[in-house]
Symmetry: C2
Subunit: 356 residues, 2 copies
């Protein structure tokens, strides 16, 4: 697959049109699976790895879900390309450190990918826009069933699916949503709400995954436990927590509007003005300003920019995307200039398209 094509593809999960997309940017479900009778990753040999990869690839190639897809072998990918796949949420950090036999099967149109020889033999995942965990699960379940029928998964009736890390044993499922919570942050309620979320059995991460800061008011919430519950229970638990967070965020935004609307408009206007006119901008500042602008769109203060544009900028302004786009490795200072140019062009083009 030509990764340059990947750069240009319109992803459904970035479209900004899914349910609750004023707050929920995207939903993701992933399943961890391993093959029976084969050593689990980290304990297998290079020979094992390659054998496992071939077995899995052979099945994927015949899958009806991947007929427009492609398979990438990570040991033949450059570091930049791997970084690109990571930024696009198609592979995990684990796969940056390539071992022999690591691969990823991608069907971008579906937002579907399967990592091979990551922490587990298979990691199946799907992304959709807005709050669509149930829809994600339905597709992924079908993919998993089709592939599982042709591969011998490690499974016991007592524990369920067996995985490398005990936290994934059981359903092997992790369901997560990426949330935009500027209201809770600005009203200084975010810590209180996130503590409640964690108490309800969820894990909270930043935009760049585990250990990352909460830049751009972006919060990723996922289930902590996969054992002892079936998939629908997990999804319904997340939904309950999410409904709570969404309600609090909407209330916070209303409070901000009634408290000092002019200040809010000012903040949003300035964010737009800087993004549309800066010539040097860091990724950290970008995420902060995009947050204000995204809220401006939600509150209908900003009418000439689409949410898709913001969502795409989250991805396109990251280092590997910038470097892939310009076709060369860039020093951080140069990246800040290229990033600023890209943002100016994105916003200008989007504003032209949305002219009244």
């Amino acid at each position: 697959m030509d990764l340059n094509k990947l750069l240009k593809q319109k992803n459904e999960w970035l479209s900004g049109i899914g349910p609750d997309s004023d707050i929920v940017i995207s939903s993701r479900v992933r399943l961890a699976r391993n093959l029976q009778k084969m050593p689990f990753p980290h304990r297998d040999t290079t020979q094992d790895n390659i054998e496992i990869m071939h077995a899995i690839c052979a099945v994927i190639k015949k899958s009806r879900f991947f007929n427009k897809g492609t398979i990438l072998f990570l040991d033949s990918c450059s570091d930049l390309d791997k970084q690109l796949l990571l930024e696009r949420h198609l592979i995990s950090k684990e796969l940056l450190l390539t071992r022999a036999g690591s691969a990823v099967a991608i069907d971008e149109s579906l937002g579907l990918s399967i990592m091979i020889n990551e922490e587990d033999h298979l990691r199946l995942q799907i992304l959709k826009s807005g709050f669509q965990l149930k829809e994600c699960w339905e597709i992924l379940d079908a993919v998993d069933t089709e592939i599982g029928n042709k591969l011998d998964y490690a499974y016991t009736p007592v524990f369920g699916y067996l995985t490398s890390c005990p936290t994934n044993v059981g359903t092997g499922m992790r369901a997560s949503v990426m949330l935009h919570l500027p209201g809770l942050v600005m009203m200084d309620l975010i810590n209180k709400v996130m503590h409640a979320v964690i108490k309800l059995g969820m894990t909270v991460r930043g935009f760049y995954g585990e250990g990352s800061e909460f830049l751009g008011n972006l919060f990723q919430i996922s289930n902590q436990v996969t054992l002892g519950k079936d998939e629908n229970e997990i999804l319904s638990n997340i939904k309950k927590v999410l409904d709570l967070v969404v309600e609090h965020e909407r209330n916070s935004r209303l409070m901000m509007q009634s408290k000092n609307e002019e200040k809010l408009r000012d903040q949003i206007g300035r964010a737009y003005g800087i993004l549309a006119n800066a010539h040097l901008i860091s990724s950290k500042e970008t995420l902060g300003l995009l947050s204000a602008l995204r809220m401006g769109i939600d509150l209908k203060y900003v009418k000439n920019i689409n949410k898709r544009c913001i969502n795409e900028l989250y991805i396109a302004t990251q280092p590997a995307h910038l470097q892939k786009q310009t076709g060369k490795l860039l020093e951080p200072e140069r990246r800040d200039a290229i990033r600023a140019e890209l943002i100016r062009n994105y916003l200008h083009n989007d504003a032209q398209k949305n002219k009244p």
Copy 2:
């Protein structure tokens, strides 16, 4: 005169098209004159004041320079109107504290005004765009000659014109230029240059006159001495100093461009973005951002905004102008909102006009 009309008038001195207008915003010459055999202001009685005012007004009314002009009696002006005249550089701070018999004759089309019963009986002044001190003096000299022929000026062959304050004795002339010096400020050379300017016999003030901060990188330079030199000497002295300052400023701008052009473009772009999109803005922040934008126009980075627009905003964003425009007294917080709206509209309209 309807002061609302004043708000809408296009002043030549704000046009931004005079010589050296990349650096010299405007030139101003004023003459201090007093009537013989009448007590000078501060020593005269109300009766004297009124008598003096009538005598002067009678002459001005017949002047060919004021045939489109008007006379305003300051004791019948509201505080807001007086503040408006001050912001427009038509009266001095002194005239805010009205005494009986204070007045100002204005011919806006010429940028000409005569204050009556300020510190002196007459203060004649003229403003022109860019570096035009000589042109200012030529017109003002003609005005002064015409009026002086009909009034008996206090004058002695030894001292020249007599004035209330000894610093004005002699020619009674003060010539000043308003300079925009962002290059010298950013390259940290401004103190050095201003010390040299002062050593060469000049006075340096800020945008709002004596004692005001140097907001917006605006510096007003004027002659210190009026005694012992004729008018042409004074003007040629100022010109020498000014040529020096202009050269240093141009060099500083070139240095900035060659040193880090991207950072400069970034600063200018952000200034434009904020001015064109903010919803709350103080007058101090406004002057700072207008400075960057003005430099952007001079360096041809900004092509859709005219310098006239920036110059007019210097005036239009001041408190009395904002309040006159909205027709009511405003709290500072409301002013910040109205100021932001006014700036957005000015820049939007100017950009529309200058569309390629």
